[in-house]
Structure formats: C-alpha cells, structure tokens
C-alpha cells in the first residue's frame, strides 16, 4: 500500500496505454496484473467511431486515469490539454509531458515547470515527466506536484535505468514520490528501479509491444513487488574485496 495523489494504491506499476494493440487489454491488466493507474494520452481520446472505441470505455471504474499531455509543445498547450483531459475523464491526475522534439521525445524542463505551476494552482494532482535533474525536481516539489517522473532512459528505447547516477540523488533528496518513467524495457529493469528506492514505475512500450501484454504486465508487477520488498528490507552492500579474515589480521589487530 502506498499513498499518492490522495489515493491509496496496492500496485506500484503504472501502465501507459498509447502503444497497446487493443484497448480491451487494459481491463485484463487491471484484473490479472493488479495495475491500478493507466496513463492516457488526451491527444488520442477520440470519440467512438464505427470501428474504434474510445480508450476510456475500457478503463475499469475503480482504476485511476492519469491524463497525459503528450504532444503538447509548450506550457500553454499542456495546460489546455490537461483541462480537456479533466473534462473528458473526470480525473484530476495529470502527467505533464511536454516534449522538446519529436526525434528523442525529451522533456522540455522550462515549459514543464511553467505548466506545473499553473496546474497545481488549478487544483490538479500533477505528475511531471522530467529529465533526471535534481534541481528541477526540487523546484517542482516546492511548487506542490504530487510526484516527479524522471526518465530511466529515452522513451521507447528499452535500455533500462541508464541514468542511475542522476536518479539516485533525486530518490535520496526528494520527499514526494519518485516514479521512474520511460526506457524501462524489462521486468529486471523495473526491479532495479524499485531496489534503488523509486516509489513506482510507469511502463508503456515494453508491455504494449510484447507478444502478450497482460502476461508481461504481470511479470512487471511481480518484479516491481520484488524490487520494493528488497528496498524495504535493505539491500546488502557490494564489497570490492572479500571479507574473509586475512592471515595478516592477527598481526595487525594484535
């Protein structure tokens, strides 16, 4: 159990829906893998058509929708998209995602900060997607966001925790939850993020593009649990040299 955004959650695995081959998988992930938070890109919440259904129709009533502003190019657009998202979904959770470019999909820190300031004042539960930048994370914490969501490595790359040395200080220094978002490609990467002390992870590509997204969500869910348990217990330190007593020990210690 953990508290975030005014909710108590059992699962620390958040899932993105944008790349899924079929929205009906959302419900299965909720029931079979225990996923409770689903990120939904507002830009893709189209109306029901003859051939496609709105993603919102597939999200179980008790699940939490995290509105995603992806596609926003600046803070003004992000705020507008968040407002539209809140109207459409009735959810107050917003993942602020403002990309600097469409080539790498790196977040725009300055615009993200501006958008968060406005959205917090507008009463949203704000979850900014950011670079692993401690200074930025601190500023966002002061503004009053619910959590920070630093990237593990660039979106969609499946490269795992590529920025460990930058993520660690954020986890150590920030009091609000830290959700590692983007780049996590394997359950073992997610476990590692949790072992490091992250509060949750958000996975999209690795689950959506696997051959069995529900089973993969389950694998991630178990990995997240395992990693969290290990963090709570406290991982043993790695030692550079063996600790076995040396024949010199008697002489040195007398």
């Amino acid at each position: 159990m953990f508290e975030i955004g005014g909710k108590t959650l059992k699962s620390r695995l958040f899932v993105g829906t944008g790349k899924l081959p079929d929205y009906s998988l959302v419900e299965k992930m909720y029931y079979e893998a225990g996923v409770e938070v689903f990120a939904v890109a507002v830009r893709r919440i189209g109306p029901n058509t003859k051939h496609t259904k709105n993603v919102l129709e597939y999200i179980p009533k008790n699940a939490i929708i995290m509105v995603n502003t992806s596609g926003a190019q600046d803070h003004k657009e992000a705020v507008k998209i968040a407002m539209i998202g809140r109207e459409l979904t009735n959810s107050n959770w917003v993942k602020v995602e403002i990309e600097k470019d469409t080539k790498y999909l790196f977040p725009d820190s300055i615009e993200t900060l501006k958008a968060c300031e406005i959205l917090v004042k507008e009463g949203f539960n704000v979850f900014p997607y950011i670079y692993p930048d401690l200074n930025l994370a601190k500023e966002l914490e002061q503004i009053g966001v619910e959590a920070v969501m630093p990237l593990g490595s660039p979106i969609g790359t499946n490269k795992g925790i590529g920025c460990e040395v930058l993520l660690k200080p954020i986890i150590n220094e920030i009091k609000i939850p830290v959700i590692i978002d983007a780049g996590i490609g394997r359950p073992s990467h997610a476990a590692k993020a949790m072992e490091m002390g992250a509060d949750a992870v958000l996975i999209n590509t690795a689950i959506a593009t696997s051959s069995d997204p529900v089973k993969m969500a389950l694998a991630f869910s178990k990995a997240v649990e395992a990693g969290r348990l290990a963090f709570e217990v406290g991982l043993l330190k790695e030692y550079e040299y063996a600790q076995a007593s040396s024949p010199l020990e008697d002489f040195i210690t007398g």
Binding site: K19, V42, G46, T49, K50, H51, E99, Y104, G156, T209
Partner: protein, 369 residues
C-alpha cells in the same frame, strides 16, 4: 533550403555504384545511428536475404517508437479544377473532362458519408487553382470537416504563411505536399506551365506551414517521375531538415508510386515491389521516429505486409474523385486506387495482424484553442 538536395546529390554521386557486402550491411544494421552514406549504400542492396534483415530491424524500431498502432485516414477531393499542365496527372488542365467543385452542402454530405463509413481523420484535397478553389473556400471546407472529424489535414497547392495560419486557426493540424521529384531539371519538364512550375515555392511550403503552427507534415516524391533512389535520398534529407528546423513537429514521409491516371504518359522509371519495400525500410532505419504513410495506390496484400513492419499511417476506403463518397464512383479519378477494400475491411485486417487501428492522432483543435 535546397542545400539538402545538393547534399543528396553529392552522397549519391559518391556511392551510386557501391554495393555493400553482406558483412557491411550487417554492420550498418548493428549501428544505433545510420548515416546518409549508409543509406546511399543500402539503396543498392539487391540481396533478398539482406532486405529481409533490414525488415526485421525496421520492425523493431517501428514497434519501439510507435507501438502497435496504425493511424487511418481518408482523402476528400473537393475540387478538381487545376491550372497546371503536369504531364502525368489525371487532374491536369490539359485533360478534357468535367471539372467539378463541391459546394459547402456537398462537402458536408461527403463528410457525413465518410463518417458513416467510420472515418474520423480526413485530408482535404483540391487541384491547384486559386480562382476556383480559393483559400477561403478551403478554409470553410476545413471548418465543416472539424465538425465531423477528429483530425483534419490538407493536401492543397502551396500557400503563403498567413494563409496557412488561417487554416491553423480553422482547426487544421496536418499538411501533405509532394514535391513529385526533387530533381529540378526533371521537375521543370514535368510541370511545363501553371503555378506548380515554381519548384522552390513548392519545396518551401511545408516550412511555411510548420512555422505558423501546423503539427504534422508529410513529404515525399512521386516515384517514377525521376531517378527513384535520388528522390528517396532527397526525401529522407528533406524530412531530416524539417525535423532539425521544427523539432516539435511530427514529420512523415511517403513514397507513392506513379499510377496511370488516364493520361498518355509513361514514366521513365518503374519501381518494383522489391525496390519500393526497400525504400520504406531504409526510411525507417534512417529516421526511426518519422511516420511512414502508405496510400491506397498500393494493393491490399502489399499494404498488409508492410503495416506489420514499418508503416505508421495509411489511407482506407479512399475515393479519389470529387464527390466520390456520397454520390459518384471512381470515374475521372486523380489516380487509380489499388486497394479498394472498405474501411471496415482494412480495420479488420489491421486487427488480424495484432495491431490497433486508430483514427485520432491529435484531438481536434488542441493547437487552436
């Protein structure tokens, strides 16, 4: 602006006869970033097995970047009046057939019919004629379209900046504009008269659109009109140029192959399925996050095979005649449609491949709120 064409020319001259070995191709495929020199080499690969290897890498890149989603759209031709004498086109003013232009009620009828088919993303097209299809007419058509469709794009003659801005304000999000060929000498021969003769004004159109707020742009050649490999190289560098200059825009490329359009024109080059596939794969390898669009010019079997590998966006249920959805059939079309399946059939085929059909890429009007 034309710098990238010179670069393509230079790279092509250097590698036009260079056929990479099996190992060299494998080395290129192992790279995280493929260079334009690598592209020039890959264009000369003929070995079927190597092309299949390229396909498996292309598929991986596509899934990582775009997931299991195929965007669908359909074109709506609202006018076939044209002032150009393009020697290859079914809309050319040399061609003697009934010119038509839909009035606003007819446009609405068409959109209603498209919507009934399940289409939710439309590209509004006109011939190139500022008198019969003035910008204000296009704008009104787009405004009506935004009432029916989640996403509205245009494929019309090149406009000026302020004109593009007025379309952004009307809710238009995307622009498609084919350069036809990037080889200026050939371009001038193929477009003997009419406003389209201005190569540079056409080439710079996408920049003007993106600079005033368009979200998406699709560029490409009409393969067959000029040297196809040179045109592919130019297209990729054009897309890259746009990405560098407008990093927030979503850029797509498309490589339509010439199709007969009832005019007496035989293209200089015929592009085989194998070459066409290779071009698309190379586009994906060079530009991992660029959209790749395939139209109904291609047949159903090939389209179905490609959506599983590198395609991100395709048209469905297209009618290329003015008034084609609500009233007329396919007489006097701009080009012949090869994939004549209904939208429902295309959707079914996408789902069968384990992919999700999607009609909404941008919530209508996000950029004009």
């Amino acid at each position: 602006m034309t710098e990238f064409i010179r670069e393509a020319q230079k790279v092509w001259e250097e590698f036009k006869d260079y056929v990479p070995t099996y190992d060299e191709v494998c080395e290129i495929l192992e790279k995280e970033v493929v260079s334009i020199e690598d592209v020039a080499k890959l264009l000369n690969v003929e070995d079927k097995n190597l092309i299949l290897l390229m396909a498996s890498k292309a598929k991986k890149i596509t899934r990582e970047n775009f997931g299991k989603v195929i965007l669908l759209y359909a074109p709506l031709y609202i006018s076939n009046y044209c002032q150009n004498g393009c020697v290859y086109c079914g809309f050319s003013c040399r061609k003697n057939y009934k010119r038509e232009k839909l009035d606003l009620d007819e446009i609405e009828n068409e959109l209603r019919s498209m919507k009934e088919e399940g289409i939710d993303s439309v590209i509004i097209l006109t011939g190139e004629d500022r008198i019969h299809s003035p910008v204000d007419y296009i704008k009104q058509a787009c405004k009506i379209a935004t009432e029916y469709m989640s996403e509205v794009s245009i494929e019309v003659y090149p406009l000026f900046e302020e004109e593009y801005k007025s379309l952004v304000n009307a809710g238009v999000v995307g622009i498609t504009i084919y350069q036809e060929t990037y080889q200026k000498e050939d371009y001038e021969k193929l477009h003997p008269f009419g406003p389209k003769k201005d190569f540079d004004f056409r080439l710079s159109a996408v920049e003007r659109a993106l600079s005033v707020g368009f979200h998406e742009a699709c560029v490409g050649p009409l393969l067959g009109l000029s040297h196809p490999k040179k045109d592919v190289l130019c297209t990729l560098l054009h897309a890259e140029y746009l990405l560098d200059r407008f990093p927030k825009a979503e850029i797509s490329v498309s490589f339509p192959r010439f199709r007969s359009a009832g005019v007496d024109f035989v293209p200089r080059y015929t592009i085989s399925d194998k070459d066409f596939i290779k071009f698309l794969l190379i586009a994906r390898l060079y530009l991992p996050r660029v959209g790749i669009v395939i139209s109904t010019r291609e047949d159903a079997r090939l389209r179905d095979a490609l959506i599983d590998v590198c395609i991100t966006k395709m048209s469905a249920g297209s009618k290329t005649t003015v008034g084609g959805y609500a009233t007329q059939g396919e007489k006097d079309a701009q080009f012949e449609v090869e994939d004549r399946r209904t939208v429902a059939e295309v959707v079914e085929s996408i789902i069968k491949k384990g992919l999700r059909p999607e009609f909404t890429n941008w919530v209508r009007g996000v950029n004009s709120l």
